[in-house]
């Protein structure tokens, strides 16, 4: 299934009509929201921690170049290699080159949003390399050939039955359809198949939640432990990360981990927190022989110098989408690209260009719930609004809309005319309404009237009533 941000409208409409998806969304939504609420309630200092996490991320961004250099030196000192990728194409090429020089035929991959962002899997597959996703959710959508619909729970849109059917087809065992009735059975089945992958893979690719400057370590959290297997069993471990992920030391990481897990899944800590520092050292029994970190810019450095800088604080917890009413109504695929929900409404137009995602910034009611829960204090509605400003200033938005604003402002600067227009409009609407009831239809605003009536004005405008009242009291 192909989705595209330019098709946001039609994808959203299709999602609203998809009953299976709606059921899945409803379940997921209350699950995430309730779990986070419970975790936050259980930690009285959560708001303080949130402020601290915001400050840590903001500070790291202020010192980004220095921290990245420190990180690079750390990786090299630990025996690893660092590669810098300016954009998606370069990042893909770097990974391909590493993979090719090992003549690898199989890659075990952990969940990585950057890998999705740079379109890594199709590139690897085109090169004849067999990539297997090892995160259960990613594995499911890989089988279904769909993009993730949530950054934390990529297959959240799938029902248990749909997953059982996928496994039955792809594992070529029809009996699974009836056997796989519960989540534990599904997990066991996936584990059985994935185990072979771990043992036979030549290269492991994972993402990173944080890069630690002072030690050159990368930190990864998972709930399945698959990240550990991807990194320790294959001969080569490639870590893909955006350049914004770096923080000074493990001290900062420990604070961020506390807000990350609670915000994402309501856990006090994610089940597995893995710290990777360089390849296997002499005398060690486990670990890869080669350790590569690919640092991906892909628009981030430019973002750092823009009004969207704060977006780079993001630690990819997903809380913004879990609390977004629009996401809750349409799910992640409708947004058409890797990053759904509020964070995607900033990242997608930024990374792809507003003309390739013209609707995203507008698909927001400005309700502010996302900013209220974001663990690193990103002012998402302000950034989404700033994206609208950018579109307005670069004339990406609709001509009609620009015209309306110009007109509106013209009238609003002329109070007498404005008052006259309001009076006329109120009268006109009253004349068109059915007696006592609301307006059913007008030649304008067809979107509104498709599903809603428009309440009828009471009659006199407030300014007219006030003028009369003043006259009466003189």
């Amino acid at each position: 299934m192909k989705f595209s941000p330019i098709e946001f409208r039609s994808q959203a409409e299709a999602a609203l009509r998809d009953d299976t998806l709606q059921a899945a969304l409803k379940r997921a939504r209350s699950g995430f929201v309730d779990k986070r609420a419970k975790a936050v309630a259980a930690l009285p200092e959560f708001e303080l921690l949130r402020a601290e996490a915001s400050a840590i991320r903001a500070d790291a961004l202020n010192r980004l170049p220095t921290l990245l250099e420190e990180f690079e030196a750390g990786v090299i000192a630990a025996g690893g290699q660092v590669h810098w990728a300016i954009d998606a194409a370069e990042a893909r090429k770097i990974v391909l080159d590493i993979a090719r020089c090992h003549e690898s035929c199989r890659i075990a991959k952990g969940k990585s949003m950057v890998a999705e962002e740079i379109g890594l899997n199709p590139a690897l597959e085109d090169a004849g390399i067999n990539v297997v996703e090892t995160d259960l959710g990613e594995y499911i959508i890989q089988l279904a050939q769909e993009p993730p619909s949530h950054i934390v729970a990529p297959a959240i849109h799938k029902t248990r039955e749909q997953v059982a059917a996928l496994f039955a087809r792809h594992h070529e065992r029809a009996e699974l359809l009836t056997e796989l009735t519960g989540i534990p059975e599904l997990v066991d089945e996936a584990r059985r198949v994935l185990r072979e992958t771990f043992l036979s893979a030549d290269v492991g690719i994972t993402g990173a939640n944080f890069l630690v400057a002072d030690s050159g370590s990368t930190v990864l959290v998972t709930n399945e432990g698959n990240g550990d297997l991807c990194s320790t069993l294959p001969k080569t471990h490639i870590v893909l990360a955006g350049i914004e992920k770096v923080v000074p030391s493990m001290t900062e990481v420990s604070t961020l981990l506390r807000v990350l897990a609670r915000s994402a899944t309501g856990q006090p800590l994610t089940t597995y927190t893995s710290v990777f520092t360089g390849p296997r050292r002499a005398g060690e029994d486990f670990g890869p022989e080669e350790f590569h970190v690919v640092l991906v810019d892909n628009g981030r450095a430019a973002m750092l110098g823009s009004e969207f800088r704060d977006m780079l604080r993001c630690i990819r917890c997903g809380a913004c989408m879990n609390h977004c009413p629009v996401y809750g109504a349409i799910g992640g695929h409708a947004y058409g690209w890797v990053y759904p929900g509020p964070m995607g409404q900033v990242l997608t137009p930024w990374l792809l260009g507003p003309e390739r995602a013209p609707d995203l910034a507008h698909a927001c009611t400005m309700n502010g719930h996302c900013a209220q829960v974001c663990p690193v204090g990103i002012p998402l509605p302000d950034l989404i609004r700033a994206m609208r400003v950018r579109e307005h200033e670069s004339h990406v938005n609709h001509v009609a809309e620009r015209w309306v604003f110009r007109q509106w402002a013209w009238w609003a600067k002329r109070p007498r005319l404005y008052g006259w227009a309001l009076r006329k409009k109120a009268r006109w609407l009253r004349r068109l309404a059915r007696p006592g009831g609301a307006l059913r239809k007008l030649p304008v605003w067809s979107g509104w009237f498709r599903s809603r009536d428009l309440p009828t004005p009471q009659g006199r405008t407030l300014r007219d009533l006030m003028r009369e009242k003043l006259r009466g009291s003189q």
């Binding site: 006592g436 428009l454 300014r463």
Partner: protein, 264 residues
């Protein structure tokens, strides 16, 4: 009378659709001991352009109102979103150091949404009103998250004779209005309204109350289309004892009478 001099900023929707909200606000302010003025040159605060990304026109309208509303002790707005516009966003429109920024900040400090003004500034803890109905309350997003309005309306509603407030479980969830959003994405907007109304319905209210006419027009419009008889009122109308008029969603068959709120 030497209470504070308060300018009422009516908002364009109240001005055109439902002046009874403005008159109710004036009645409430006067009963709380304020001297109320209605600066006649007020128009639109600029929120639609602001949320549409048109900062040039937003600034023009902001400057007009910053000047117009200077000289009053307070500016009171019967809407959380227009209140948020003036209180939170006006200062953001100008660079620190720009004289307009200082003026916007000054206005911001004097500007309040109606119900929060009554409770937080005028220290009102009860009103003289009667509304013998079971109601539920929708927390409009801007009021809730930009201005921290949650307890204030509940506090005053608790003193309304006969009123029984039953909370819905999704009181703080967006109703899907979102200004231009409701026109640009009607299907999503309506879905959110339906979710909101389903949650409201579970509380079995006779009336839904809220503090923002935008959200209320949207919810009322949806209820009207569905033929529901749940009534929608602005909280100011109930608190001012002026909700004996037809609700926002109109009365089936009965022509709405012109507003006659009680003024002191």
């Amino acid at each position: 009378m030497n209470g504070p001099l308060v300018a009422l900023f009516g908002t364009c929707l109240v001005d055109m659709f439902r002046p009874s909200i403005g008159l109710s606000a004036i009645a409430l302010l006067q009963r709380a001991g304020c001297r109320v003025a209605f600066p006649e040159a007020q128009t639109c605060c600029g929120q639609p352009m602001f949320n549409g990304g048109d900062l040039k026109h937003t600034r023009e309208l902001a400057k007009r109102h910053i000047d117009l509303l200077a000289g009053y002790d307070y500016v009171v707005i019967p809407s959380g979103s227009c209140g948020g516009m003036i209180r939170v966003h006006y200062p953001q429109l100008f660079e620190v150091g720009d004289p307009w920024h200082a003026k916007a900040l000054d206005l911001s400090r004097r500007s309040f949404e109606l119900v929060s003004f009554l409770v937080d500034v005028m220290k009102l803890d009860r009103v003289d009103a009667e509304f013998p109905h079971r109601v539920t309350y929708h927390d409009s997003c801007s009021g809730l998250r930009e201005l921290g309005i949650k307890a204030q309306p509940r506090k005053l509603l608790a003193s309304v004779r006969g009123l029984q407030l039953v909370e819905m479980d999704q009181a703080e969830t967006c109703c899907g209005f979102g200004g231009a959003f409701s026109l640009k994405f009607p299907d999503i907007s309506t879905r959110l309204a339906d979710d909101k109304l389903a949650s409201a319905r579970a509380a079995e209210p006779e009336a839904i109350l809220g503090g923002d006419l935008g959200c209320l027009l949207h919810l009322a419009g949806r209820l009207s289309r569905e033929g529901s008889d749940t009534r929608v009122y602005h909280v100011a109308e109930v608190l001012a004892d002026a909700a004996d008029i037809p609700p926002i969603n109109g009365l089936p068959r009965n022509p709405p009478e012109p507003a006659k709120p009680k003024l002191d």
